[in-house]
């Protein structure tokens, strides 16, 4: 098993995004650190546009994540609907 992670700035824009990630990834562990939130998951983490849109109540472009992204780990794959991080281990 390898850990993939994504870290986002802790602010009002990312709060619902983090909630959406928790909904879609029940195995994820959310670590709240000074000014940032780091989400770890075993081997795979998926971020879904639709779940975020349900949380924030408006249309969301996954590329908006770029603004508040701090770091990530894993092979990235992105299209309109999902952004996934994976390790082959």
């Amino acid at each position: 098993m390898s850990t993939v992670f994504i870290a986002l700035q802790a602010n009002e824009e990312t709060r619902p995004i983090i909630e959406a990630i928790e909904i879609d990834n029940p195995q994820a562990v959310v670590n709240r650190e000074p000014a940032m939130v780091k989400i770890d998951a075993p081997d795979r983490l998926v971020i879904r546009r639709e779940t975020i849109e349900e949380q924030i109540g408006r249309a969301f472009d996954l590329q908006e994540l770029q603004i508040n992204l701090i770091t990530l780990s894993g092979n990235v794959s992105e299209d309109e609907d999902t952004l996934s991080l994976t390790w082959n281990s």
Binding site: S2, A7, N68, I70, T71, W87
Partner: protein, 505 residues
């Protein structure tokens, strides 16, 4: 703006293809080799540049939009910091040493990376690669500018910030980072990508930015948190570019593996040595510490680096050669470097200090197998010398490593009581190293490293050992910028101004 209507009908993949891939064309009146003269000599074989793709599929129009948003957020906070005496909100003015070191050694590295990516963006034939490198070149220049701009607010009040460009070019400890970037920039485009895109961005940058910026948040430094996270938001893209580039090289041709592995070995070790300065910032220079260097290494080195190399094993890549020696050094390096910075503080454009009793307790707890045994006795003796009115200054200039350019402060991997001395003779001339890792880098390309501009030998070549003349040359104001924090102008000013801000006296 006319893209807006099309956006609804194009999906991300099509958009990326139209706005990136379709920018490429076959040259007609010059050969491809003439247009891209540097892409073959390193020996990397590429059969299909079209296979390279940015997984974020970011196109230039979207790039400008998101970068503009980041800049707006950044400047709102920098203005607030300047308007609200943000410089008095930090925990303690000792913290400023970390910022000074960052500004003198790291921010110029961002600028160097910008030049490097502009160059390789021109030298690579693949259009996807060109666009990603162009974005990264712009990012890196933005990072240098936002860092300098944010820290200029501290330059209005404190010493050691005023001449960071001279420090970058001339002072001794900055040559560690400078030589790292010069080495990468004078390599071919593929090696540059492994050096900066992969080793530095992917394997090491988390260790630099994440704990350091979290540390800034802990220490009340709003300006640094802001430029740090603003820069870091680009790093995810940079890391992804670095990882994609290495996978691309390995997938294109099996002959690329030994070349790539050699670069991974070299650049991991070179990057690890640059991080030596970061380990010291984390363990000693943050008055309020968010995690120890050891703890950061566990998360971002052992766990994350381990995951990365398990993933890359499918291509035949193994972890970097110096990995085990690095692990053995983790519990020692920050202490060894801080002891050096303290005893040579007459020659640093930042302050250092003897750790307080509380600091030493924290260090002992975080480094249970090493601090009390090896390092506390030295600090206690240094404390005694200071109490006796004879503070320890080591006016013997240090022997530097010909490769990483750090003073040779590190001990044998398996004996923390013995300095690691390595030397070799090349064409009748002696060269010294801090480690097997640095010696191997030299021996692979001796012609490159015999040219190293080592600051300590230069002090004798240029000034015949006259330290005062050297200080003038590096724009270090003796008695203000250097020496012990205890009794410094920064310490006095910070206390006085904070007093004025919280009372009506």
């Amino acid at each position: 703006m006319d893209m807006k209507t099309e956006k609804k009908t194009l999906n991300l993949k099509e958009r990326y293809r139209l706005l990136t891939r379709d920018l490429g064309w076959e040259p007609s009146y010059r050969s491809a080799d003439e247009v891209f003269p540097y892409v073959k000599y390193e020996g990397i074989k590429v059969h299909d540049w079209g296979k390279w793709e940015d997984p974020f599929r970011l196109t230039m129009d979207a790039y400008w939009k998101y970068q503009a948003e980041k800049e707006r957020k950044f400047y709102a906070i920098v203005d607030a910091h300047a308007q609200n005496n943000g410089h008095l909100n930090i925990t303690d003015a000792r913290y400023l040493s970390a910022l000074k070191l960052f500004l003198q050694a790291i921010s110029p590295g961002e600028y160097a990376a910008g030049k490097g990516f502009a160059r390789v963006g021109r030298e690579f034939p693949g259009v996807g690669t060109q666009v990603a490198c162009q974005m990264q070149a712009l990012d890196e220049i933005r990072h240098a500018q936002t860092q300098i701009h944010a820290l200029s607010n501290y330059n209005k009040y404190y010493d050691g910030f005023h001449a960071f460009a001279d420090a970058r070019d001339r002072i001794w400890y900055t040559s560690v980072a400078r030589s790292f970037f010069d080495d990468a920039m004078s390599a071919g485009p593929f090696e540059f990508m492994i050096a900066i895109g992969f080793s530095f961005e992917y394997v090491l940058t988390n260790l630099l930015f994440v704990p350091f910026m979290s540390g800034a948040a802990y220490n009340g430094d709003m300006a640094t948190v802001t430029f740090g996270f603003s820069a870091q938001s680009d790093e995810a893209r940079h890391m992804t570019l670095g990882l994609e580039c290495i996978k691309f090289m390995l997938e294109q041709d099996p002959d690329n593996l030994p070349i790539v592995q050699g670069w991974i070995d070299k650049w991991f070790w070179r990057g690890f040595r640059v991080l030596g300065l970061v380990s010291t910032m984390m363990d000693y220079m943050l008055p309020k510490r968010v995690m120890s260097w050891r703890e950061a290494w566990e998360i971002y080195g052992v766990e994350n680096g381990g995951a990365l190399f398990r993933d890359l094993a499918r291509y035949g890549v193994r972890p970097p050669k110096g990995w085990d020696d690095a692990e053995k050094a983790i519990d020692h390096m920050s202490h060894q470097i801080m002891l050096g910075l303290y005893q040579w503080s007459f020659g640093t454009s930042f302050h250092s200090w003897i750790p307080s009793d509380d600091d030493m307790e924290w260090l002992a707890k975080k480094y249970p197998t090493t601090f009390d045994k090896y390092y506390r006795p030295r600090w206690n003796h240094i404390k005694k010398l200071a109490a006796a009115g004879t503070p320890f200054k080591n006016f013997g200039l240090a022997k530097l490593c010909q490769c990483c350019q750090l003073p040779v402060v590190f001990t044998e991997p398996d004996d923390p009581t013995l300095l690691c001395n390595r030397e070799t003779v090349y064409e009748g001339e002696k060269y010294h190293f801090c480690s097997d890792g640095c010696q191997q880098v030299f021996e692979n390309e001796p012609e490159k490293y015999v040219q190293a501009w080592l600051p300590m030998p230069q002090l004798f070549q240029m000034f015949d050992g006259d330290v005062a003349a050297w200080m003038d040359w590096v724009s270090l104001r003796d008695g203000h910028d250097n020496g012990d924090y205890d009794g410094s102008r920064d310490q006095q000013n910070f206390q006085q101004w904070r007093g004025l801000a919280t009372s009506n006296q």
